[in-house]
Symmetry: C3
Subunit: 168 residues, 3 copies
């Protein structure tokens, strides 16, 4: 089944585009949010996201860490929208998980999915090299993760100013 990766910068319109792609598949859509409602700024964004999705009856799940399990649990139903991989990566790094292992496992599993998955991710490596080593590690990890998922995806789109460029 279709595995789609939507990448782009901050506020590039990638989530809106990914929702549209997910809604193009039959079945009740499932929104897998990797964000937890931890801080105010983030809560406001999550709420905004929710309002936008009200017209469609999405099933919503908060999955900060166990993404592969959530995809296994929801397989066979409607299309899944995972928003977003970079936040999942950040959660794993904060929790001390072996992110490279988890990403590899996730990628390896995608071939067998019966329901579509639309992944949203962020491009974070096109600015100046960050000063601190942690930010550099995260930036490198995000690039590696994105390449892994892109390699197993059937379609990859890069969104700039709300407009998609087809990479695959």
């Amino acid at each position: 089944m279709a595995i789609i990766l939507i990448t782009g910068g901050a506020r590039s319109g990638k989530s809106a585009h990914a929702e549209k792609r997910a809604l193009g598949f039959p079945g009740q859509p499932i929104y897998i949010a990797t964000a937890e409602a931890l801080d105010a700024e983030m809560e406001i964004r999550i709420a905004k996201h929710r309002r936008k999705r009200k017209a469609v009856d999405w099933i919503e799940r908060e999955v900060p860490l166990d993404l592969l399990q959530a995809l296994i649990d929801t397989d066979g139903g409607g299309p899944r929208l995972v928003d977003c991989l970079t936040l999942w990566l950040s959660n794993m790094m904060h929790a001390g998980r072996d992110w490279e292992h988890e990403v590899t496992k996730l990628a390896a599993f995608m071939g067998g999915q019966k329901s579509p998955v639309v992944f949203v991710t962020n491009e974070v490596g096109l600015g100046i090299v960050p000063d601190n080593a942690l930010a550099r590690s995260y930036r490198d990890a995000a690039g590696i993760m994105n390449q892994f998922i892109a390699a197993v995806a059937d379609e990859v789109e890069f969104i700039v100013v709300g407009l998609p460029m087809k990479l695959k």
Copy 2:
């Protein structure tokens, strides 16, 4: 009339490309600079820009804030080059203006323009998430603004290493 958005990173060749696009239309071209000659670094850049434009007899205007009014005032003449939207956004934020309202008004107005407008803007959301909240707000605002203008533009080009990719 043609509304064109040229986006790209720092020193990607987007201004040079935008000038070329503007000069492709008949009539005396109008350069609308959103930068003010406030500090040395900026002055040098503005001066450089001026020298580059000497071969053509541009009408030059400095418009740090009231961009829509400047476009209304200059409509019906030659093509307008607005360089750049992100600096205009930054000026509005510093001046405490309601940038979201101003951007919405600008976008809504573009449909009725008789003379072409070529907008230059910057991609600023493809690096690591900035540490401070102000930079994050600016980054988000720039992404939102760029999407608004792209939505009403007839053509959108993304410039990397001086070479355009057609997005729309």
Copy 3:
């Protein structure tokens, strides 16, 4: 002979793609590393690079500064892979060299090369404007250098999540 420029963000897969492009040409490939094994983090990366290249018998050279001379010295043999231009630029700036002059000379020389050259470079100008003037200068310099080399290249590819977009 073919001059190819491969650009992209951090960990975008640009080096792997550039190696593949270089190996598409006949003759023993020459790897010109602009990195010096100065610090631990960098050493680990260089070592990783080396392991990846073991299957092919590359000639390896470390050229932190005198890139044009290295290209002159190796011309007439196999394809050259230069990884990467942005590190070379950084080395020149630290050493107080006139980078603009060196880049101009390098670009001017590319027309006469008998063996192919594949250049790897980085996009660093698509994030928020850096706070400090040095980072801003570097960012501007990288953009200018990339445009110079792109202008004389026969092919330019922009890599995102491991996937190439053809710019030229």
